[in-house]
Amino acid sequence: MFSKEKIVVAFTIEKCKSCSMERKRNFKEGDYLFAELSKCDSCEGIMQIEKIFGESIEK
C-alpha cells in the first residue's frame, strides 16, 4: 500500500585490464560492452567496460 515507485537505472561497470580495479558509473549513450574508454586511476592501465545492467531504485 505504501510501497514507493521503483525506477530502473542503467549502470556501467568498468574494469582495469591490468589491476582488475572496478569502477561503477551511470550508463552513458554510446557505452557498449568490452569498449576501452579510459585509463585506470591507480595503475594507468586500460579500463574496459565489463558489464552494463539495470538496477531498481526506489523513487
Partner: protein
C-alpha cells in the same frame, strides 16, 4: 421503549408463511433474471475489464509508434517526413505457408520471414541511405516492436468487438482467459523500447556476452549474414566461437553459419549458450545445463542446426540462463550480468569433460547482441 431482544424473525420476514408473495419474488426474480440475462450480465462485467486492458494496449502501441518516429527523425535526418511510410509498415502482415502438407514447410517459412526482413531493411534504409548499420538495426527492432504492439491491439480489439456485437458471452471467454498473458507480454515489449534506443544489452544478450568476451583479441570473419566467427585454442583443443555481429540489434543467422562451418571443419561437439524462459517459482538468472539446440525464434534456425548436427552425428550441449519474458527483452539485470563469468567457466568444464586433445568445439552465443560486440 422497543425491546430488541424479543423480535421474532420468522414473523418479521414471513418465513413461516409459504404463501408470502413478496418473499417468493425476492427468490424467484433473480433466478429468472439470471436464466434469461445471465450471459449478458457476465458479458457486461467482463467487458469492463477487457475495455480497460484494450485502452492500455492502445496507449502502448501509440507510445511505440511515437518513439519510433521520433527516433527516426532524430537519428536518420530523413529528407521527407517518415510518418506515412511508417504507418504503412505497421499494417504489414505475413501470411505463413500452408501446413496441410507440412513437408518442406520450414524452408517456406524461412523464405517468407527473410523476404519480409530484407524488404523492411531495404525500405528503412531508403529513408536515409547514409545511415550506419548500428542505427539501422536499432530502428528495425523498434519497428518490429511497434508492429507487434499494433497487431496485438488489433487482434484483442477485434475479438472483444465481435463478442460485443453478437452479445455472445462464450466468445469473450477465451480472450478473458488469455488476456493477463497478453498484457504481460505487451508491457514487456513496451518496456523494451528504451534499451534498444540506447543500445543497452538486454537479458537475451547473455549468450553473446559470454561468447563475445571469448572472441576479444582474436581474428573474426563473417560466416553468414550478421554473424561472425572467431577461432582460438584452448588446452590443445580448437574452439570455433560464433555469435551475431554486435553491437547492433540482431540475432544473426546461426543456422547458415553452422552449415558453413560444418562443411569446412566438422566440430566434435556443439555448445549453445542462450537465455531461456524461467518457470513460475524459479529464481531469475539461475543456470542449467542440458542437451539439444538451445535457440528460440520461430524454429527455422533450430531446425537447420538440428538437421546438420543429426546428419553429421555431432552432439549438442546447452547451457541456459533462466529469466522472465520481461527480463529477456529489457535492460539486462545485475543478476544476469553477474552470471557471465560463471557460464564461461561452465563452458570450459564442459569442454574438458566431453572432448579430448586435438578435438574441435563449436560454441554458439545465441541471442540478440545489442550492445554486445566481439
Amino acid at each position: 421503549m422497543v425491546d430488541f431482544t424479543n423480535i421474532d424473525l420468522d414473523q418479521l420476514f414471513g418465513f413461516s408463511d409459504d404463501s408470502n408473495p413478496l418473499l417468493m419474488l425476492v427468490w424467484i426474480l433473480p433466478i429468472i433474471i439470471f436464466i434469461f440475462y445471465g450471459q449478458r450480465i457476465q458479458l457486461q462485467v467482463t467487458s469492463g475489464e477487457i475495455k480497460k486492458a484494450i485502452k492500455k494496449l492502445d496507449s502502448y502501441r501509440i507510445e511505440a509508434r511515437v518513439e519510433l518516429i521520433d527516433h527516426i527523425k532524430k537519428k536518420m535526418n530523413p529528407s521527407e517526413d517518415p510518418t506515412k511510410k511508417i504507418d504503412r509498415f505497421l499494417d504489414y502482415f505475413t501470411i505463413m505457408p500452408v501446413d496441410v502438407d507440412p513437408a518442406g514447410i520450414v524452408d517456406k517459412v524461412r523464405h517468407t520471414v527473410r523476404a519480409r526482413e530484407d524488404y523492411s531493411r531495404k525500405h528503412v534504409k531508403s529513408l536515409s541511405p547514409e545511415i550506419d548499420e548500428l542505427q539501422l538495426t536499432k530502428i528495425l527492432t523498434l519497428l518490429e516492436i511497434a508492429t507487434s504492439l499494433h497487431m496485438i491491439f488489433k487482434i484483442v480489439n477485434h475479438m472483444y468487438l465481435t463478442a460485443k456485437k453478437q452479445n455472445n458471452y462464450p466468445l469473450i471467454l477465451p480472450l478473458q482467459m488469455i488476456l493477463p498473458f497478453i498484457m504481460e507480454e505487451a508491457e514487456a515489449i513496451t518496456k523494451a523500447i528504451p534499451a534498444f534506443k540506447m543500445g543497452q544489452p538486454v537479458g537475451d544478450g547473455i549468450g553473446p556476452m559470454v561468447v563475445g568476451k571469448m572472441m576479444l583479441d582474436i581474428k573474426k570473419e563473417k560466416v553468414a549474414f550478421q554473424t561472425v566467427l572467431g577461432e582460438k585454442e584452448f588446452e590443445g583443443r580448437n574452439l570455433f566461437l560464433l555469435k551475431a555481429e554486435g553491437p547492433g540489434s540482431t540475432v544473426g543467422r546461426p543456422g547458415d553459419a553452422v552449415q558453413s562451418i560444418v562443411e569446412k571443419n566438422k566440430p566434435d561437439i556443439i555448445i549453445m549458450v542462450d537465455a531461456a524462459l524461467k518457470m513460475e517459482g524459479e529464481d531469475s538468472a539461475i543456470t542449467a545445463q542440458g542437451f539439444g539446440a538451445a535457440i528460440g525464434g520461430i524454429g527455422t534456425e533450430r531446425f537447420q542446426i538440428e538437421e546438420i548436427a543429426t546428419k553429421n552425428n555431432i552432439p549438442i550441449f546447452a547451457i541456459v540462463i533462466k529469466q522472465s519474458v520481461k527480463e529477456a527483452i529489457t535492460l539486462m539485470t545485475k543478476d544476469i550480468a553477474n552470471q557471465a563469468e560463471n557460464v564461461r567457466s561452465q563452458i570450459f568444464e564442459m569442454i574438458r569433460d566431453n572432448t579430448k586433445h586435438g578435438q574441435s568445439i563449436l560454441i554458439i552465443g545465441v541471442g540478440n547482441t545489442i550492445g554486445v560486440p566481439q
